[in-house]
Subunit: 338 residues, 4 copies
């Protein structure tokens, strides 16, 4: 009954197979191996983006902070939701990588920024030499509230950014779950919706530690390589990061895993509706649930061995993953029901 | 015939076994798992340092830069050999992590700093507000020239640093090879010789991507954790990094692998002495060889499929690893001899 | 009819006299002259703080950013009012000097933070390695809204900070105006109220370009000197900055100038109450007025040559200075009245 | 008998007159005043550079560090002489402003870099992602050794930089002295010789605290303004910095002052040749002299009240300024001769 995070799930078995396959003999290090090159082509194909460049890393925080440093100068500010991961959960990594750029925090319901909210925030920024200049827009999909932007919603936001000449970053730590939730293609949920740089996360969806910065415009690829090296994120045996992604894309494994995680959340949410005193905060299109439950309900579930995070007496976050089983969900619900 | 780098070698098979073992079920992320905790205790035991704290990362550049940022303020300078990895091969990572600290480059024969050279460099630094202040001493063992500092040599250098109140960092990307070369204990080659912070490298010696910053004085451990997170180096599924190290220490695997790599270099150096025109630059206690060979000799070997780095027409670097076989060495020598 | 900023006022004539006096012959540069040393003693006496250390600079932005860098680590966050100068008017200087520390923006009426607001903001910060850690509290007096904290109000806020172990910075760009407004002593409005580091501004109150960072706890004085040099703020002919301050303190000139500026604002506010359609936003204890006036009123005044900043159609900021005359005020009021 | 530094000289009286003239009434702050605008035009005329942009500051360290940050990215390295001011006397300001860029130190006789030395240093830099990338060339004229580059020498060096696509910075803390020494025009000694950005120093030549970054290519002017503000170097009452420069250029005052300082150094050097045991290190075209003198000679001069810096037992630096008199020189020589 582990619902603390999709980061706590085991690695999918296919990943080991793929890494062992990649272990055949010697290979040039630092991404100069054939597997890393092949993966770039694979990602180009998956995203229908033949000019995209790809930087592999092992953490999502590094991917986000590196992407933002490419898009916002030190004297700029990145527009993001008040509860974005880059704002709340990265110990200032974006500030560190960018050399001190700011974040302009925007409120919005259900973890989402609205075009109006963005337009207002932009209007209050920039201009004279005394203030932070307008930098990038950073969106997150799946959001930190577990909700999902549709391509149309993304496009409405990126259009506002575009109208002010601002580039757009998408934190896709759970990009596969967003794809599964929206039934769209990778292109539709990224560059076709106006995204310039994507942090594509594999770790929360079955991989061991594999993230990619996908630059749909390759102009800053070399700067990105230098920033990655300089941040200590150019892993020498990069073939094993590439191998994780390669198997992830094979036969749409990534989508299968994400769909499963999402469906387990749906099952859990459906069951929660029957739990006395339960109140679910947002729609549940993906694999995150925020819900209030009576303190006694929490106590009972945790006594029964359920693991998940509580924000306060009643509010909790429940996360499903590729490895969550129906039995896990049902056991948790049984514990909640008492 | 791959002698380009120990980074290009495959991962030792035991590493996969260990990672698959670590994959049993769910675990708290970000190092809050039992395996990561157990590894800290293991490293304390291996180094006879019951108070040491350990920060796991996946690259040596990150380990070095993080360690130095803990020891040298932004207005300080780190003393190191002119050809240290931190000076020549990390694209400014130490400057990035430290917020702009300098490196004072010290010349010295065979990749080593001498106590006199260090004392002179220190004497020319610090004092007034106009100059960079004295920061850490950073040594490398095995050195970039393939030579090895003995505990006595380390102690002589760290004594100079200590006399000026300077902390000491050791870049141990090939620490196991240095242990194997000197026949000393981990403690003797680190804190007992005056080292405060060690970058302990596993990746060049059979692991997939596993490095550790070992803080013999735990006072800066929390700052280290914050700096690691902020740099995007707190991997979520850290149990798999821990598992790599755990199997490395098991039954002294790390030492067996390092001894093997070193012995293959010895074999190669011995054979090189018979190659017409060959000139070996330094003693070969570990697994790196720098040698001049006639250009025609290089051409012949490379035509035969040998892979290694050449600095110019004649100078090359040959690196052996845990997986180098006697047959590999002999084939290279045969190619050199023509 | 210049009410745009106290920065636009001329320099008080005594300043030139003092600088010419300081120009007698040669003097050691970089603050090693007798005048700079004497000023330190003068500031100690003025503030009844015999151990205080003083760093002279020429801009308030530098003073603030340097002070905060001494108090908040790169992974920390400084708590300040949403409209603090450090947040809105320094183009990210605090982020630059600190190496990327954050600002946590706190709302509060009339430009002031409340103890409750501060306590809530602190409670939502710090803890795990994933979030920004608690750094300094930064207050501003006179506030950006033109209001003034009393010693009791400051003490209530600094007590909250102290309870969490946080150091306190005070942006005193208009410290003299705050002293004049509250009728308190420099000590009462700074360290006795819990302030650790003060940015003491002279430029807005008659000086040419003279600001001081006053460290009531001298422990970080040397680090402050290094940070000042490193930021290019150690002026070589520092005796002329010291001379400005010296004449400012002479016979309480600073207080006389500030009282005059404040009284001109009072006169202006009193007159504004008679202007049709005028609405003054806050109390006017010092030398800043924020008021709504009909757009036609603005048009008339500006046509008559009045210079001041408008935020939108009706809202304006009017600033008086040491050199504002009653005739200036009356002329502006006449223009407003039409 | 003050020969410690041209920074220790008094301010030229005309500067006070100019500043008092600039003090007539109110003026917009932060460089939006008429005087600052007029100075830009003046500098364009003086340098025959109608498109140049100008950033005023009050210290040379800030001017240098800001200029370099515009020319070298954080992952770049600036090529400079081993004893350049930016390398030895700015406490890491270039590293701070640039976000951690490196300096590649080049040896060369008499304080000068040679084209060969530069070409070699460039050849050893850049290329792979592992190393610092090639950034700017930074030259100093008058050099730190007191020697002077001719336009031809500058052109030979900047041609090497240009051939590698590197921009060129000139530290002109004593630019006027270099003009006086070479008898060339400002254009000939800057952009016509291949300089892209000039740090133009006034403080060492009679001004109170006035330095300018002159951007011959205006493309980075706005970035420069943002970096200046962000570094706390946008002085609010900038009209007084402009006024210093304005009077400096009036009737070629700057050149008269520099010629005088240089001629005093010539007189001193000539006299030194008669002092027993004196050994002058370099040619003396400008206002700096490095010389060995017997320790007893130093003791005698210092007992007589001479003020200057000694590097060791015998080596000293003697600096003349606009205010050095023949009597000062003769008195020093008399003291040396005993």
């Amino acid at each position: 009954m582990f619902f603390a995070s999709d980061n706590g799930a085991p690695v999918h078995p296919a990943v080991f197979t793929a890494m062992e396959r990649a272990n055949a003999g010697y290979a040039l290090s630092y991404g100069n191996d054939a597997g890393t090159q092949a993966l770039r082509d694979r990602i180009r194909a998956v995203f229908e983006a033949p000019k995209a460049e790809v930087l592999l890393l092992t953490t999502g925080t590094a991917a986000n902070a590196l992407a933002l440093a490419l898009l916002t100068p030190p004297w700029g500010t990145t527009f993001c939701h008040r509860h974005a991961h880059i704002a709340e959960d990265e110990c200032g990594a974006p500030e560190f990588f960018s050399g001190g750029a700011k974040l302009t925090l925007i409120d919005g319901p259900e973890g989402k920024i609205t075009p109006n909210g963005l337009a207002q925030a932009i209007a209050q920024t920039g201009g004279s030499v005394h203030v932070a200049q307008r930098g990038a827009l950073s969106l997150t999909n799946v959001t930190e509230a577990g909700t999902v932007y549709t391509p149309a919603e993304l496009s409405a936001l990126t259009a506002v950014a575009r109208a002010h000449g601002l580039p757009v970053h998408l934190d896709g730590a759970r990009f596969a779950n967003a794809l599964a939730a929206t039934g769209t293609t990778p292109a539709e949920l990224s560059w076709r919706a106006g995204v310039d740089v994507l942090s594509l996360g594999g770790t929360k969806n079955g991989l061991m530690g594999a993230e990619a910065v996908v630059l749909f415009d390759p102009a800053k690829a070399w700067e990105g390589e230098l920033r990655r090296k300089r941040a200590g994120h150019l892993n020498s045996k990069l073939r094993f990061v590439a191998a994780q992604f390669e198997t992830w894309f094979e036969a749409d494994l990534w989508l299968h895993l994400a769909r499963h995680a999402n469906s387990m959340a749906t099952r859990l949410a459906t069951g929660l509706a029957q739990v006395p005193g339960a109140e679910i905060l947002h729609p549940i299109p993906a694999n995150l649930i925020f819900a209030h439950l009576p303190a006694t309900t929490h106590a009972r579930a945790q006594a029964a061995g359920a693991v998940y995070y509580r924000t306060d007496e009643t509010l909790c976050r429940l996360v499903t993953s590729w490895s969550t089983t129906e039995a896990d969900v049902d056991a948790l619900l049984a514990a909640f029901r008492g």
